[in-house]
């Protein structure tokens, strides 16, 4: 995918631009549940107080599939992986996956957060969103790196 050096997030406030990236969530100050994306009001107990948190950048795979046809409003490449990853905070997050071959994915597989390109904006900048990549033995993501 073309585009110049600077990568911009598909939306501000979803993930950090650090390496590795971290999802920006919140934790309810009343019931302790975690949320993603961030909420001001807890969707579980309706309390108004939440604390911004950076969520774990690693987790385990809970469900997965492959998107083979570009869905509405999406201009990036297909196919791509799509799944749910469990984070240690007790949160299950819907995410793209860098691995599109379902035979290479399995329940409980270690995953790590990366960013992936989804298009180029009007200023020629690469637009990136979050995705989870299967984690290598040594701990880093397989075949993916920030802004790849």
């Amino acid at each position: 995918m073309d585009g110049t050096g600077v990568a911009v997030a598909v939306r501000e406030g979803l993930f950090t631009d650090s390496d590795p990236p971290r999802l920006l969530g919140s934790r309810c100050t009343s019931c302790g549940c975690h949320h993603f994306p961030r909420h001001d009001t807890c969707p579980y107990c309706a309390a108004d107080g939440t604390t911004p948190v950076e969520l774990s950048d690693t987790g385990t795979l809970w469900s997965w599939t492959t998107v083979t046809t570009a869905p509405p409003g999406y201009g990036g490449d297909v196919p791509y992986g799509f799944g749910v990853v469990e984070l240690p905070e007790g949160l299950r997050v819907v995410s793209r996956l860098t691995e599109a071959d379902p035979s290479l994915l399995s329940a409980g597989q270690p995953m790590a957060l990366v960013v992936v390109p989804v298009g180029v904006d009007d200023d020629g900048h690469r637009v990136v969103t979050y995705a989870f990549a299967p984690q290598a033995e040594h701990g880093g993501p397989v075949g993916g790196s920030v802004g790849s």
Partner: protein
């Protein structure tokens, strides 16, 4: 819920109709239902019209064409459960004493291809997260992990429902398919192949509700069909794969599904349990959705869907036939009309005039829809 009867039903076939507008189809279904109920202008005091994609004043446009306006006409949107929501409102108004007779109908002319839903935000679309069938696939994958369901079961549900649909004149697909052909159709989102997904399409259905005990409610031989429950529920937070399509959820398997909430309330209202059901029409948006519904409605214990299916219990001739109409996999899914289409077909089952698809001696029937919102509706009909 007692006190509400079905006075008449009508349907416009589900399919693709280039030469007919959504209003044309609504007029066809409403006219048929009013004729059955023996009603004319002024015969009903309120109307509820279910539609998700119909646009502004869909119900008014249908009733304007029939010269039947002046009463309150309310359009209702609740995703795939829109018709169930309209039925709940109509029945509730009669029970509350507001009206004696209410017209409930649903109309839809769906766009073709993967549904673009205003439900998703721009960043979700741009990220490739607005892939509706992928969410179905994630649910299917979990069912395979948790309930011993295999791809052969998913193909089997399609084979069953398409076999049922052969005899339904209102269905879009009326040919049998075999498992090899289902598994050979294009892979959309593993494990779901194209033929395992229902087709969004067009159609209309209408139901006339009447306070029980009025003379005209017993026009049909064998007496009227009773609407014993019409329940709508939304999701509880927590389940990442429920139809509210959240971006995250909790690691908590105990959150009841919206369909379970609706079914539990409907069973209580009707004073029955799942063991009392003779016939079920359920939301088979995809083949896995039907199997999951067996568990959510309590037709089997959690984890028991594959075994229930394997025993043939849910095929015509089985202990509890599910989707004898052919289901959405045969009929296609016009969102606003689909729930009321189920009610129409079940009324025929209870009257004993369902033809080749008849479940012999059916006396207790359940209709179930669930979709975006989340919205889940469960309707119980008896005679």
């Amino acid at each position: 819920m007692s006190g509400v009867d079905i006075a008449g039903v009508g349907i416009h076939p589900f399919g693709r109709f280039e030469d007919r507008t959504i209003t044309d189809m609504g007029v066809h279904a409403v006219r048929a239902a009013l004729t059955e109920a023996g009603l004319d202008r002024g015969g009903f005091q309120a109307a509820f019209c279910a539609t998700a994609y119909g646009g502004v004043a869909s119900g008014h446009k249908v009733l304007s064409r029939l010269g039947m306006t002046g009463m309150p006409i309310v359009d209702v949107e609740a995703g795939c459960a829109s018709g169930g929501a309209a039925l709940m409102l109509g029945a509730g108004a009669i029970r509350a004493g507001a009206y004696d007779t209410v017209l409930v109908f649903g109309v839809e002319k769906m766009p073709k291809g993967m549904i673009r839903s205003s439900f998703f935000e721009p960043w979700q679309e741009e990220s490739g997260l607005a892939a509706t069938p992928a969410y179905f696939a994630l649910r299917a994958q979990r069912l395979m992990q948790d309930s011993g369901v295999t791809k052969d079961h998913l193909a089997g549900v399609v084979v069953k429902n398409r076999r049922h649909g052969v005899h339904n004149p209102d269905a879009m697909f009326r040919s049998e398919v075999d498992a090899a052909a289902v598994l050979g159709s294009r892979l959309v989102c593993e494990p779901l192949h194209l033929w395992m997904l229902c087709s969004p399409n067009e159609g209309a259905a209408a139901v006339v509700l009447r306070r029980a005990g009025t003379d005209a409610s017993a026009r049909h031989p064998g007496g009227p069909v009773h609407l014993d429950a019409a329940v709508l529920r939304s999701h509880l937070p927590g389940s990442v794969l429920n139809e509210s399509t959240p971006m995250s959820g909790l690691v908590d398997e105990a959150v009841p599904a919206p369909s379970t909430l609706a079914a539990t309330a409907a069973y209580a209202e009707a004073g029955i349990g799942p063991e009392d059901l003779d016939v079920v029409e359920c939301q088979d948006t995809d083949a896995a959705r039907e199997l999951l519904t067996y568990e959510e409605l309590g037709l089997c214990a959690p984890g028991g869907a594959a075994a229930l299916f394997d025993h043939g219990a849910t095929a015509l001739g089985g202990r509890i036939p599910v989707n004898p109409s052919g289901g959405l996999l045969s009929k296609g899914e016009p969102l606003g009309a689909s729930a009321l289409g189920q009610v129409v077909t079940l009324v025929h089952q209870l009257r004993g005039d369902a033809g080749h698809n008849q479940v012999e001696g059916a006396r207790v029937a359940l209709a179930h829809t669930v979709g975006r919102g989340a919205n889940a509706s469960v309707v119980v009909l008896t005679r």
